[in-house]
Symmetry: C2
């Protein structure tokens, strides 16, 4: 079976560390990368600090993922430090990228027309077009700061802005096709709802069934709701063919069902897309 | 001013990496730690893998935070591997902890009574009482798996279960008082809503005001809503006295207001607790 592409996601911003913002960006990216057949191996959140960013990017590179995706810190303010951190990690100079500058200029020209006032290219605006040497800017269809793509030590580094709409738009426009082109795998999952069985009695069942078919990952999630507790059992696998995926999930589902029912538990399938 | 206590948060679970679960645990903990005067410097998410857990805990220890808080992987199933990973990182043996075993026993005895059936202490259940040597179990008022507290190399390591209700309950019962006792600082914040000014025009204003009073951290968040875009400006600081906090935030607010209004922008204060 093909090798699964490995991703590290680096979300940057003090607002995440003080708990002001829930990290929905990391969640969205992980789900999207998984659905494209990739595997996120690590998500890291750090603050707006050049030393932290550069040392963390170096640590990510040392683990040799296929992709590093950074989110946040591309804007015009003094604490948007991602590109400076990435450049330092890779020993690259930062300089104004003419393609990126054209993108930023176009945005402000269009805004100038709409507003009927000339918007100047201030240093804060030019900062958004100042990229590590050799980087390629990625069009931002929603906001101003372009995304950034870089190749270094065999790793593709992608920097996306932190505003969720901008991050998603650049990902869908410029990144998803790159991943789809390089990934040979598809991802399948299924959820089962189990009642009338303790997680600690389910544990040896999962263990047995997982050993029979280790390609299907099985994870139990104890849940509480009004009226009592239940267990959500989540099965997932990746394969080159959808047919193989579904077959593997089907076999595992049957084996789990048989054993859970034997122990007096009840099991129902949960519609996907919850 | 007193040193701010530093925290690293390590959330463990494949369900986070595939984007099945939004990491609300990290968000809740960050907010709570910040409100207790602590500073979260890094949040890391990794999968259910002993090597990953042990190497990541070692990396965390090397950065010498005051606390490492792990979340997830304390349950009875084969992929609950946190304590094995932590033990390996610290070169400690795992063994059944008698205090933890009593906690687990009590839970199942109480459950046995409620259900009118004897629940045996299976290996999967004893696993939840198997802790790194020298660890102290923390009562879980909601679920079964105890939390774990360990001291190593001057760092306090706390392991909490991943079920949000259990994590929160153990944190409030056993951890918040420890942090409050060691932290001398309180945290204050304020949000301002800015309209009629570009973030790129705000950038030099933030820069100026921040240099006047670097203890108040200022961060701009561009937001979109129906009817247009605005900027949320978030001010935050930590100090030993509430009075000093409020004074510092007040001064910074006035300086920002003056400059934003000069540039034709509008500014309103956002009630806290959004």
């Amino acid at each position: 079976m093909s090798k699964q592409l490995k991703f590290e996601v680096l979300t940057i911003g003090n607002e995440l560390l003080i708990g002001k913002i829930l990290n929905t960006n990391a969640h969205w990216l992980s789900r999207r990368i998984t659905s494209l057949g990739g595997r996120v191996t690590r998500i890291i959140t750090i603050g707006d600090d050049i030393d932290e960013i550069s040392s963390t990017v170096r640590d990510c590179l040392a683990r040799k993922p296929d992709f590093i995706i950074t989110v946040g810190g591309l804007g015009p303010t003094f604490d948007d430090k991602t590109l400076e951190g990435v450049a330092r990690a890779l020993n690259l100079n930062l300089k104004v990228n003419s393609e990126a500058l054209d993108m930023v200029k176009m945005k402000y020209e269009s805004l100038s027309k709409t507003r009927g006032e000339k918007i100047e290219l201030t240093p804060a605006r030019i900062k958004m077009a100042t990229l590590p040497d050799g980087a390629k800017p990625l069009t931002n269809p929603v906001g101003t700061a372009p995304g950034v793509l870089l190749e270094a030590d065999g790793v593709t580094i992608i920097c996306l802005p932190g505003v969720p709409e901008e991050m998603k738009a650049i990902f869908e426009d410029s990144i998803s096709s790159i991943i789809r082109g390089r990934s040979k795998l598809i991802f399948c999952e299924k959820s089962l709802r189990l009642e009338g069985i303790y997680e600690s009695d389910l544990a040896p069942i999962i263990d047995q069934v997982f050993k029979m078919n280790p390609r299907v990952y099985i994870k139990s999630h104890p849940k509480r709701e009004e009226g009592g507790a239940y267990i959500e059992l989540h099965l997932s696998t990746s394969d080159e063919s959808l047919e193989e995926c579904l077959k593997a999930i089907g076999v595992t589902t049957s084996e789990v069902k048989k054993r859970v029912v034997e122990r007096g538990g009840r099991i129902t399938e949960v519609p996907t897309g919850e």
